[in-house]
Amino acid sequence: MSLLSYLINGISLGSVYAIIALGYTMVYGIARMLNFAHGDVIMVGGYVALTVVLSYSTNPLVAVLVAIVVCTVLGIVIERVAYRPLRGAASPLAVLITAIGVSYLLQNVVLLIFGPNPKSFQSVVPFPDLKFAGGTLNISAETIVTIASCIVIMIVLTTFINKTKAGQAMLAVSEDKGAAQLMGINVNGTIALTFAIGSGLAAIAGVLLCSSYPSLSPYTGSMPGIKAFVAAVFGGIGSIPGAMIGGIVLGVIEIMSKAYISSQLADAIVFAVLIVVLLVKPTGLLGKKIQEKV
């Protein structure tokens, strides 16, 4: 019975990683940049939802929607102000460093506005927990909602990319920016749209993360952000199903190694698995091999 509850906890943790990883993987796949500020957008989403719940409306759905809108706008602004001017820069490092800068900027602005004290986040999930087998197996409602939203988001995103014009434009930009532009695709617009979607997802991830692990501080986003980045690489960066699978596998490995091997070594084991996977499959589980043409 404990095995089952460990497994469920692992999938729950992994689903949060997965939703965050989607943001990393989309932005990397299309703009070829690592948006290190992604984890902090999640944290901003958490704070927005918390503020809405505390001061304006107790309806959790309203809070989530406001958080999505704010984060989407934030994502577009960050892209426009901090990343787009550097897209043509000689070194891809410039934009990477800017992303780290944006990450610290967000953390410190939130620190200034909300103060350093961690805040306890009230769960936005209004359902009761499920109990099985006389209370020995307990699945929290947050877990179910997290896993369900993870699946829904993946289906919607995949459909969006494969079936809509904007989605096709994203695929084209990810394959070849220059050629896409020649075909009449608005590259800047497409990348901005990617950031908008990624940041909107970050808001959802933030709310779900804080509902499952109810402690919100300006640094809440950084560690899950890094783990989710690992999940994205693990699954094959640039691949949407890969991010999903990477996230869930990472969460399950983390919880299982904590439970059955050593709670101290859990992180070391997670990263050791990452190294092994990358040695065997350098592009990650579902990553496509990109042929460099000379």
Binding site: P116, P118, N138, P214
Partner: protein
């Protein structure tokens, strides 16, 4: 742009003049404070700085130490060792003669290495790791050391027969937490209870505690020992409640802050939590009542034990200065030599203990108190 440069240089020169003037006066004792005033451990640093400021104001109003006013300069280190050393250097440039800090253990160890070199008198209000004061004989502390907290916790649980099966969860990446746990475990062998589950977490994985809680539950532990800070403890309590697990919880001084440190935390989850702390804000002696009233008036909240440690720290410095007869025109090293000798001779009645004395290695001697959280407030235990 030129104008701006000009303006900037004028400001710089003015600032330099101000600081030179401040350096040269020699009419006040300059006490530096270092602690996390922002960041995850900010509740401790703010408590310390506020508590120390109250003590400094009180002493100055009453005429100072031997007629000399105190000047207190708090610096933020964000609970980061490197920033703590930077803050120490900033304070030295300011002309610091004695240091109250650092507040948290890891930064304190780094600062003490520097302070021992400089022979700067260091009194940490709350740096409880053993190594906080071992680099030189210049360092003393107000709080208990980690080993004594771990040992005292184990003895307390054993002597009061709180449980037979005990589980422990600790932060293996933190010197404070693992230090306490090591001595707890050693002392547990002499006590009539058994440790049935010991699980760790690290700074990188401190959001999900379901595994650790599940293991304690499966092992049938009646009491869970939590030697770490209130931030993570709040998560542990929330997740344990979701898993229908309600053992006795036993924390140490890092648990202090659970009622106020996490905004929006459902404090009913902390009901019945026991913790070892040298200070309880609801104590009825005049000293505590006066301090709590002043603190609430100034800062609008109930002081935690860090504030009390710092308040005592300033009064301990006062007692040591008076005993040693040092004057503010002496350099920090000469002050340190005189004051560290005086430290072993004084006895101070403070908020965190009466008749506190110090040995030459810097450790205080006072007896720990345990409190239990009842109806959202600390209540003293036997």
């Amino acid at each position: 742009m030129k104008k701006f440069v000009k303006l900037a240089s004028v400001v710089c020169v003015a600032a330099m003049m101000v600081s030179t003037v401040a350096m040269a006066d020699g009419e006040t004792f300059k006490i530096g404070g270092i602690g996390p005033m922002t960041g995850a451990a900010a509740a401790y640093g703010m408590g310390v700085m506020n508590g120390a400021q109250i003590a400094v104001d009180e002493i100055n109003e009453a005429g100072g130490v031997n007629g000399v006013q105190l000047e207190f300069n708090p610096q933020d280190d964000e609970h980061d060792a490197e920033k703590s050393v930077n803050a120490y250097n900033t304070l030295k440039d300011w002309g610091m003669q004695m240091l109250l800090g650092s507040v948290t253990s890891a930064p304190c160890i780094a600062v003490e290495a520097e302070a021992a070199n400089d022979n700067m008198f260091l009194l940490t209000p709350s740096g409880s790791a053993v190594d906080c004061i071992t680099a030189g004989d210049n360092a003393f502390r107000v709080c208990f050391s980690d080993p004594s907290q771990g040992t005292a916790s184990a003895q307390y649980i054993g002597e009061h027969g709180l449980a037979e099966k005990v589980a422990a969860i600790y932060d293996s990446s933190d010197v404070y937490s693992s230090g306490i746990y090591a001595t707890f475990k050693a002392e547990a062998e002499n006590q009539p209870f058994e440790i049935v589950s010991e699980e760790a977490f690290t700074a990188d994985s401190k959001t999900d505690f379901t595994v650790q809680i599940q293991k304690a539950k499966d092992a049938g532990a009646e009491l869970v020992f939590l030697p770490f800070y209130y931030n993570e403890a709040a998560l542990v309590f929330t997740q344990a409640a979701a898993m229908d697990y309600a053992p006795l919880w036993f924390g140490v001084d890092g648990m202090d802050g659970i009622l106020t440190g996490v905004e929006g935390f459902d404090t009913s989850l902390a009901e019945g939590v026991m913790l070892l702390t040298p200070f309880s804000a609801d104590a009825q002696d005049d000293l505590t009542k006066n301090f709590v009233a002043k603190y609430q008036e100034e800062y609008g909240e109930v002081p935690n034990q860090f504030a009390a440690d710092a308040y005592d720290g300033i009064y301990i410095m006062k007692a040591a200065i008076e005993q040693a007869g040092v004057t503010p025109d002496m350099d920090p090293s000469a002050i340190c030599d005189a004051v560290k000798a005086a430290m072993t001779e004084i006895s101070v009645d403070g908020l965190t203990g009466s008749g506190m004395t110090w040995s030459a290695d810097g450790e205080p001697s006072k007896s720990p108190k345990a409190v239990v959280i009842e109806d959202g407030a600390y209540k003293g235990m036997e």
